[in-house]
Symmetry: D2
Subunit: 352 residues, 4 copies
């Protein structure tokens, strides 16, 4: 299945379905920089025939492909296919690809929830292949690394869920906090809203302003709660408030929990994440800025207490398009294909 | 004491001590637009001799003054003096001005805390006139309107404290929430950090990034707690986390509290603030953006609940330089001088 | 025709056609603050029935109207009607309104060009009422003040044309430069592109980037050239390159011209604009920032020479939504209705 | 001189003098990603003893060094030393390093001008080693590639000079334009002003505004003119106006020239740059955005004409910190050390 490239290396053949959004272009950029894969085709119903670097001039000189009409036959010739499509698309095509022996990573939400009923409620349509929900592995390597290695279908986590779950895992796994009182005050750059033509995300509507949104119910709420409940084996009471930050990339989650016993959070987190290549527990007393993880696959964490307060405060930052989407998808691909986990993910955040 | 202006109106004479920061220039701008006052002098040790509109070209054509050396004799000839100085300056000059019959509004923190000991702890120096702390009225008109009318010394509240206290007052005054568990996740534009030459607030250090800061202890923490404890008459357990937003103006506070009984928050807030000219309780289901209050003296509030969560969520937005500083100072001045409370505060936020 | 308002003042009745764009909301904001007019109706086909302050929450408490279906009968009952519609709408309705004795200010481009043929070429459709092009007065008060006072139909200038023409008028009127070599390198904030749902003006597409656009031909090119040619009575060779600045409001024009004789530009400009309320010739050696005119109707100008260069450099800044659109429309309204020219235009730019 | 690294590769030893500014941190980031060099020491008088990744947390996990006191003995042990210091520092230390056989790339301006007199005039001090000015090679590889390969001292060009010279070289080298009338209207992100504590570059002073600056004389003016005059062998009349864009990275130069004969600019540029790895002549009709070169070493160019205008318009964009500083320095290092010219410069601009 491997092709021979000009330098004589064997390159894995990759397909990308739906590469015209921000997750898609970031995925293509990372794949173009990856030393062990070959980007075979990129499909887009709307842009079929357009040069990829015409839509995304940052790729000039790096990607010499046109968007193509989706074609299952051609996708079946790939070793691994990414779906960077709107929710509800992947679930209609994945079964046939799996049957053809193609591995799949879905960057949308189609396979993230285990309950088809919950999925239908939050995504407004019945699930097209509920039988795959159990098999699909939730692609958070820090939780599910071994399962990911062995899976043929990975559900790449949402951006908020990545930041929140990595910030809470050491506490829930070790049963150190009251699971009934978890507050996640999360903030995201505007790229999280996608590349659609939308008055709400115009520069003139979002810059120089700050707001909470989706307070009455956000699709990442059930995804986060599902993940947190698996960690500790208990029901979790989650209050989750997303906010829109006037910037392009970055998520910051400020998490408020109540410890149910006395412990040293810094030591707990450092021990839990000591072997993780993409989780950086900051030194005690410091606070991470989202810009320090921009374009990288890192999650940076810091722990804080305040005098006269019962709450433990965890701060978690990621780049929503990388560790929160395309980078994590590459990390999952590396695991699935037996590459070094960090292959192609060596970027250092530019500063400033 | 009143002067006759060309149109024959009597104008109150105003002095501004320390007008070179962002609070100062906003105060000068609002005073220049106020129909009933005359800006008599603006002092600045560092910029004495410089035309005000040379430092702040937005004031060209509106303010025809130079910064002057601080001169108590000239300040004593004013009817009312604002201090827009760094913390610790006003307390050295206020007693003499009060003795001369001048009314004072301090936009810094010198008179905000009732305890000289707490003040000394947080501001790193002993208080110069602790005997005035009791007399000084905390200038939040929605709480202390009558006391402000009758005071000669008003301590203008901090920006975060204004947004947080207005968001919690109806709940604490009516004993509707658990005072031991109050979380204030607050976010501010960069202008809150002032106009000093500082690497931390360069555009290149702050734009396109988001971070929490001051998590281990912020000077507004004791000010907020003092205010909240007065409201309900009970000790308050406050967790307070400020964040820096890559924008100039605006504060958003997302407040998490636990109701101790069942009630209709929308009705409680609407009743509580029904007569307030500068507090806007948004319709149920809506969420305020900071930009809708920019350059105005308004505080906009919204109330939200989430299914499966015990928390009540209150969102509060203000312009940190207006309702959080200079505008509230004008509101206090209007009360102290018997003007209509909204005089000179009629701006509508520009959008976009 | 005048109505009696509660305070007993006679208010002029104003209609706004098409108030859902950025020019529209800024016009409504300025009208709401104007002491001598009453906003009678605001029409919008797309938003009919929506409260105006629901679409634009900055207007909560200031504007108590709903958008209404366009209705010529109701518009005819107004004293003056503004069109803040896309190009090509006003020309279909203006004749009937003029016949009914209503005065009209069109903020779109329908009546800006004198040649119906040129208009058709640049705007892609035949002009609907070419007979009115001669009568329509080009609403740049610094050029056409008396004609505006006496007109019933004013074509409000474009934003770039306002900045460029004010920067060149003293030179062309006095025949001081080579008209064959005029370069206008102009830069605009994103609000100039309007409030339409458009991928190109998303925050993620425009922030943290800078680009030239429309270099091969921009609709403001013929408008500017027409204006410049009237000033000097000669053909003008104009090179005009617009750029997009990652900010909301503001236009800066850097103009390069070649003097054809020796003169003192500072003295020429100061003399030419000495009586103008909204043109501020900055002191020699200074340079204007767009933020100093934000929300104001001002144009600030500066003149510069470089050693070893033949060019005279003129820098001109305006707020594209105020002096470049809605503010200038109010200025024109004031002239047409006999109000003080600056009525309702007293804002001072907020800084920061 | 080469050291053996753990993987058995020979790594060249690199020193960086003055790594605390934006040019410095970008240089360190690029060196940390370069496969053939080893970062031996980074000096800083002000930050000696501080971990590099404490000042620049983006480098956590990538750079395990402390800033050290400048120590010529240790610098002499390096193969190549970069100076990322303020102007006037390198010239005091370079002679001794050259004598010790160390190669030097100066990212400041000390060796850019050939005339010591002109240097003294623009930089306000006498030059410390004028005898090296002739030897120093101006490090614009597209002009001086062979000389750079063979030099021991390279003067890395300024950011504006890089964008402007690359935009004009094909025209001047081929004598296609009037050299007496060259206009460069250039715009830069704020990072060009450096990381110093400075009120003028605070977020609150620069965001949401646009201005020209340095119009009466900018230090890059003589550098550009020197470069342009060498190209064509004729005196050049240059008008050069820099502007500040409210963004971090990026330079756009819009260049206006007058052709002295008829030719096809697109063909001229494509031919001239056909072999250049870091110059991308865009397809006819397109316009480059600065964001498409962010974090890359690319210069993108486009050519435009307007009807009824004599001017040829060239648009040139670079990342001021990469092709305009640290990236070009790496490119020069690669040439000097015999590496592939693009080694370590493979980044693709993130979008968005």
């Amino acid at each position: 299945m491997l092709v021979e490239n000009p330098e004589g290396r064997n390159l894995v053949k990759i397909g990308v379905v739906g590469g015209t959004g921000y997750t898609g272009v970031e995925l293509i950029r990372l794949l173009a920089l990856h030393p062990k894969v070959e980007l075979s085709l990129i499909t887009s119903r709307g842009e079929a025939g357009t040069r990829v670097d015409n839509l995304f001039p940052n790729l000039r000189g790096a990607v010499d492909l046109h968007f193509e009409e989706p074609d299952l036959a051609r996708l079946k010739a790939c070793d691994l296919v990414f779906f960077a499509t709107p929710n509800g698309i992947a679930m209609t095509q994945v079964p046939e690809l799996l049957d053809a022996g193609v591995r799949v990573i879905d960057l949308a939400a189609d396979f993230r929830l285990k309950s088809a009923e919950t999925w239908a409620k939050w995504y407004g349509q019945p699930h097209a292949c509920p039988h795959l929900l159990e098999e699909a592995v939730y692609g958070l390597p820090e939780i599910n690394r071994e399962a990911i290695r062995n899976s043929r279908l990975v559900a790449n986590p949402g951006c908020y869920p990545t930041a929140v779950q990595l910030g809470l895992a050491p506490l829930l796994v070790n049963h150190l906090i009251d699971p009934a009182r978890v507050i996640a005050d999360v903030k995201s750059g505007v790229s999280g809203a996608g590349r659609g033509a939308n008055v709400q995300t115009l520069l003139c509507e979002t810059t120089e302003s700050f707001k909470a949104y989706g307070v009455s119910g956000h699709r990442h709420h059930p995804e986060i709660r599902q993940g947190l409940e698996v960690m500790g084996g208990n029901p979790v009471g989650l209050t989750f408030v997303p906010h829109l930050v006037p910037m392009v990339r970055g998520i910051e989650a400020t998490l408020y929990v109540e410890p149910c016993e006395s412990f040293d959070p810094q030591a707990v987190f450092e021990a839990h994440y000591s072997e993780e290549p993409f989780v950086d527990v900051m030194p005690a007393g410091s606070l991470p800025e989202t810009r320090t993880v921009k374009t990288t696959n890192l999650c940076r964490l810091a722990l804080h207490r305040q005098p006269d307060s019962n709450h433990l405060i965890i701060v978690s930052v990621i780049d929503n398009l990388v560790k929160g989407a395309a980078g994590q998808a590459i990390q999952n691909m590396n695991l699935m294909l037996g590459f070094a986990e960090g292959e192609g993910l060596t970027a250092i955040a530019p500063l400033p």
